[in-house]
Amino acid sequence: MNPVIEEFPLLLQGVAVTLQISVLVIISGSIFGLFGGLGLLYGPSWLRALLRGYVDIVRGLPLLITIFIIFYIPPALDIEVSGFAAVTVALSIFAGAHISEIVRGAVASVSRGQNDAAKALGLTFWPRIWNVILPQALPAIIPPWTNTAVEMVKGSSLAYLVSVSELLFQTYKVVGRTGAAMPLYIAAALLYFAINLALSRAGVLLERRIRYTT
């Protein structure tokens, strides 16, 4: 257990980077996903086709390939990309695709009559979405969204492969130095577990709060 306690601060540095990536990704992915989902349902046909293509391609590729594409291709076009940027952008695109599908499904399940009633009162598109449609779609969005958030925290571990010092990379480096593989990998696993458990719990609490007011 000793090496774990000694090296814990280093592991925590890794956790900090993991959290940075995760938070950025979850926020931007959710924004992409919200507009993506609405675009898939309500957009003009060219936008729907574009979004459909984007979602299907991103979901059909391994996450790692998306990261490598964003990491390697821009330099070929003379654009500098850091490992951190590549991972964050790739994960955001990935999360955006998944959340788009989630939002699309949830909003489509809100009955048409609700949209009719809001239109009949004289509301334009965005006020309808914000005040009537989204509040009713939220209960169906939150559980799968929480799932996606957990997948993104796990996905941040792939940053190791573009040399970003998030938790997994830190653990690997410390193991290399101290040789205490078992306890350190187990500690890392427990740290990921703790983060994701907290995330899932937060999702459940959010669900409960929404349901109370719905």
Binding site: A76, K154, S157, L158, A181, M182, Y185, A188, A189, N196
Partner: protein, 230 residues
């Protein structure tokens, strides 16, 4: 085409395609093992004995919340280091697996946790009537599991099984981190040798997309056929 040189890539096409095939193979074997683990864990989770239920539930919760890459590292780096310092030589050797086998085991453990949930829902979805009919015929618990629950479950579980397979296939790309020559590894090696980023990653992307699309289409076809026969 597009002012890029595609010759190098074309010359290496066999490597790329073998990498793709290797990924499929690893995913298939991994899925098979994951099914075994998943079934066992699922039955444990729905059993009447608490000493089975709690470890099974913990396994599922834990594995589903940690990265696959971590599991891979744990098995490839962690286990051998620990084994050689703690276990006698002969025993330790067994636990040191090569890259491919480590990947298969990792996929089995990871996939097993997800499949355990799928199978659990499938088991619970089998109507009590059928199970009671089996019991009234005098079948033992094990026989009921094998002749009643399982066949009924297969149809409801098939779509998730197929999707898990596609997922695991995409996850094989992580094996590049432990030098397994599947498609992503081959592509990256080609890129570091030739610097032909665009050609290489485009082709890799297209290969993955075509494969996952074909697998999904195959899955839909199978689902429809099963519906006709049951």
């Amino acid at each position: 085409m597009f002012g890029l040189n595609w010759d190098s890539l074309w010359r290496h096409r066999e490597e790329f395609l073998s990498g793709l095939a290797l990924g499929l193979k690893l995913a298939l074997i991994g899925l098979a093992l994951a099914c075994v683990i998943g079934l066992l864990v699922a039955f444990a989770r729905t059993s009447r004995h608490q000493w089975l239920r709690i470890p099974a539930a913990s396994y599922v919760e834990f594995i589903r919340n940690i990265p696959l890459l971590l599991i891979l590292f744990f098995l490839y780096f962690g286990v051998p280091m620990w084994a050689f310092s703690v276990l006698p030589r002969g025993l330790a050797d067994i636990l040191v697996l090569d890259g491919e086998n480590t990947t298969i085991v990792a996929l089995a453990i990871y996939g097993g946790a997800y499949l355990a949930e799928v199978f659990r829902a499938g088991i619970l979805g089998v109507g009590r009537a059928f199970i009671e009919a089996g019991r009234s015929l005098g079948l033992s618990g094990l026989q009921i599991a094998r002749y009643v629950t399982l066949p009924i479950m297969v149809r409801t579980v098939l779509p998730s099984l197929g999707n898990t397979f596609i997922s695991l296939f995409k996850d094989t790309s992580l094996a590049m981190a432990i030098a397994v020559p599947e498609l992503t590894f081959v592509t990256r090696k080609f890129v570091t040798d030739t610097f032909q980023f665009i050609q290489a990653w485009t082709v890799a992307g297209v290969l993955y997309l075509v494969t996952t699309y074909a697998l999904a289409a195959l899955l839909r076809f199978l689902e429809r056929r099963i519906r006709w026969t049951v």
